[in-house]
């Protein structure tokens, strides 16, 4: 499977997919930290993908999403935005509304984080 196919699989299957620099345990970028922080506070179930493991992941991801920067947050298969948008959605209360709308009222029951490691094989 190519990176593109694997990226698409994560986007389609994870309730919340976070493409970030580093992992939730070892965050390598302030903006990735901001996005993860907002998702944590909202009680989301986050599947994190570290884009730093291969430059190709970042390129293929941006080709799929049309979004040039990292982090990228997808909820229910749809791009929500980067750190600025996710933080703004949190401030306005819309982040929780989006999570409920896409994932159902009990989305927080599966809160937590897992890391998906992408390799091209």
């Amino acid at each position: 499977m190519s990176y593109s196919e694997k990226i698409q699989e994560v986007i389609d299957s994870a309730p919340v997919a976070l493409f970030m620099k580093g992992t939730p345990d070892a965050i390598m970028c302030g903006n990735s930290e901001r996005a993860l922080g907002a998702l944590r506070r909202a009680g989301a179930s986050v599947t994190a993908v570290d884009v730093l493991t291969d430059m190709q992941i970042r390129e293929d991801l941006s080709a799929i999403s049309g979004w040039p920067t990292i982090p990228q947050v997808f909820v229910g298969g749809e791009l929500v935005g980067g750190a600025d948008i996710v933080e703004e959605l949190e401030r306005s209360g819309e982040l929780e509304r989006t999570l409920i709308e896409k994932l159902g009222e009990n989305y927080w029951e599966s809160r937590g984080e897992q890391t998906a490691v992408l390799t091209e094989a």
Partner: protein, 109 residues
Amino acid sequence: MRVYQFRHIRVLVSLAPSAGWAATMRVVAKERLQAILEKAFPDAPEVLVIDRGGGDHFEARVTDSSFNGLSMIDQHKLIYKALAEPWADGTIHELRIRTKGVTDTGGAS
């Protein structure tokens, strides 16, 4: 001299022996981004580029009627599109974006 991203160091060292020159380059970059956005959003009541340090970190604040009715994602995509060239050439390494639509009464929505 400020701490620059590693990939820029060689260019800056060869071009810029003084901290004063580096500061000038940052002002030039900010003004270039400001001009690009003003051209892309000619009727915008607010276009503001803020230098957020590091030489290539900026914030863009734009209020424009073309954002009305668009999701935040699509609003930010318009900013990325307008700034595609300075992204590609490394002028921008990091960008914060704040966008707003304009209401009928002229206020920000």
